[in-house]
């Protein structure tokens, strides 16, 4: 059943007007912003890139979640989906996994461009993939919850990022730390601790999602 739901989510993302193109373009635009906002000598500075990379991803996460729920709200399919007898946890997981997959795609596009520009070895891609998946679970699970909490408020588009950003700062710092280690090819300080923090965020986010998604949808 969960595979059918995931397939559904991908089908909808594919069919939604320009959603995938929009998110990719948005991420590339942010990347271009990075290129133009630093002196040439600093652009390929690993510390600058790793920090900026995760800021781009967190901004893309916000747009991705907003678009995914907007698609359901714009034409009010909301009532029809969430009144079905199907377990809402299944829908939550389908959303989480499909959005994670899309975000990994965006991450790969940005990272591959950076790798080509800075002559990095393609062997680090596997580590990046693992880091992206774990971090995305934390970002997306908390993002979905905060979006649903702020959804009923009239200033939701302002409230969502305002609450979301402070909460994910530990995720961004630790993901940057691990990415820095992956790029330079050495284990950075607090490497294991950073992984533990990312895993904890992901796990707590998913557990909260399982318990609260249904309640927040029905509020």
């Amino acid at each position: 059943m969960i595979f059918k739901l995931i397939k559904n989510e991908f089908f909808l993302e594919r069919k939604s007007s320009f959603n995938l193109l929009y998110i990719t373009f948005f991420a590339i635009a942010c990347f271009m912003f990075l290129l133009f906002s630093f002196p040439l000598s600093k652009i390929f500075d690993t510390t600058v890139f790793t920090g900026f990379f995760w800021i781009i991803i967190s901004l893309s996460t916000i747009k991705l979640i907003e678009n995914s729920f907007a698609r359901e709200k714009d034409y009010n399919i909301y009532d029809l989906i969430y009144s079905t007898p199907i377990d809402l946890t299944g829908i939550y997981f389908a959303k989480l996994l499909s959005l994670n997959f899309i975000l990994v795609g965006v991450q790969l596009i940005i990272f591959l461009s950076y790798m080509i520009l800075s002559d990095l070895s393609f062997e680090i891609l596997f580590n990046l993939l693992l880091l992206s998946i774990v971090t995305n679970f934390g970002l997306l699970s908390f993002g979905i919850l905060i979006f649903l909490i702020t959804n009923t408020n009239t200033s939701k588009s302002f409230l969502f990022p305002v609450i979301f950003f402070p909460l994910i700062i530990p995720v961004l710092i630790n993901a940057s730390n691990i990415l820095f280690g992956i790029i330079i090819g050495e284990i950075s300080s607090l490497y294991i601790e950073s992984w533990m923090i990312l895993l904890t965020f992901g796990l707590i986010g998913i557990l909260l999602g399982i318990n609260l998604f249904g309640k927040l949808i029905k509020q």
């Binding site: 034409y75 199907i86 309640k215 029905k218």
Partner: protein, 199 residues
């Protein structure tokens, strides 16, 4: 049989439903009437499980559950009628029959729009699309909010015929309306104002 026992729902200090008792057997059509904002949609949303209620219980006691069609468009705008049905049927963990789907398009007179994304259809045709979903899914109770809004005279006639067809298949329909019920067919009629009086 659908049994609603002591259902209460309020928003802040305003009580919308108060100790509602309601029963409906299979194969019956029930109309809920009331003015705008009187609580018809709230009652249907509580029955559908979409809205949490303060107290009471709702038991369907049937095999195929319920389908809720709200007064909103209920579509993914970028999909065609069939793609929309395909997605919705996944959420209901059901499959639909292709031949029956084509027949239902003919019955609802929307066959010519089958390749168009739903966002280009008129409100009346989107209303027909909602009933197309109901015709192609398996359920015992259909909860439908304002089914006749945006429909022309021919559309109302088609809807009434389909409702009668559902009834003959031992399926029940609960629908709400704020319009007069002269053109509608039903077995029982309830005013939502009755739900506000404590029993």
């Amino acid at each position: 049989m659908l049994q609603v026992i002591n259902l209460s729902k309020s928003f802040s200090q305003t009580s919308i439903l108060k100790n509602v008792h309601f029963e409906l057997e299979l194969g019956k059509i029930c109309v809920i009437v009331g003015n705008n904002g009187s609580g018809k949609t709230t009652f249907l949303k509580c029955l559908s499980g979409l809205m949490n209620y303060d107290s009471g219980s709702i038991n369907y006691n049937c095999l195929n559950g319920h389908l809720f069609l709200s007064d909103k468009l209920n579509i993914f705008g970028d999909l065609t009628i069939e793609e929309n049905l395909k997605v919705v049927s996944t959420y209901h963990n059901q499959n639909y029959d292709q031949t029956f789907f084509n027949d239902s398009l003919k019955t609802l007179n929307i066959e010519q729009f089958k390749d168009l994304p739903l966002k280009f259809l008129s409100r009346g045709n989107l209303q027909r699309n909602k009933l197309c979903i109901a015709m192609n899914l398996n359920w015992d109770y259909l909860l439908i909010d304002e089914p006749f809004s945006n429909l022309d005279r021919e559309g109302i006639k088609i809807f009434n015929n389909i409702f009668e067809d559902f009834k003959s298949k031992n399926k029940s329909i609960i629908y709400s309306t704020h319009q007069n019920t002269e053109q509608s067919s039903f077995d029982s009629i309830i005013s939502v104002e009755d739900f506000k009086e404590e029993e």
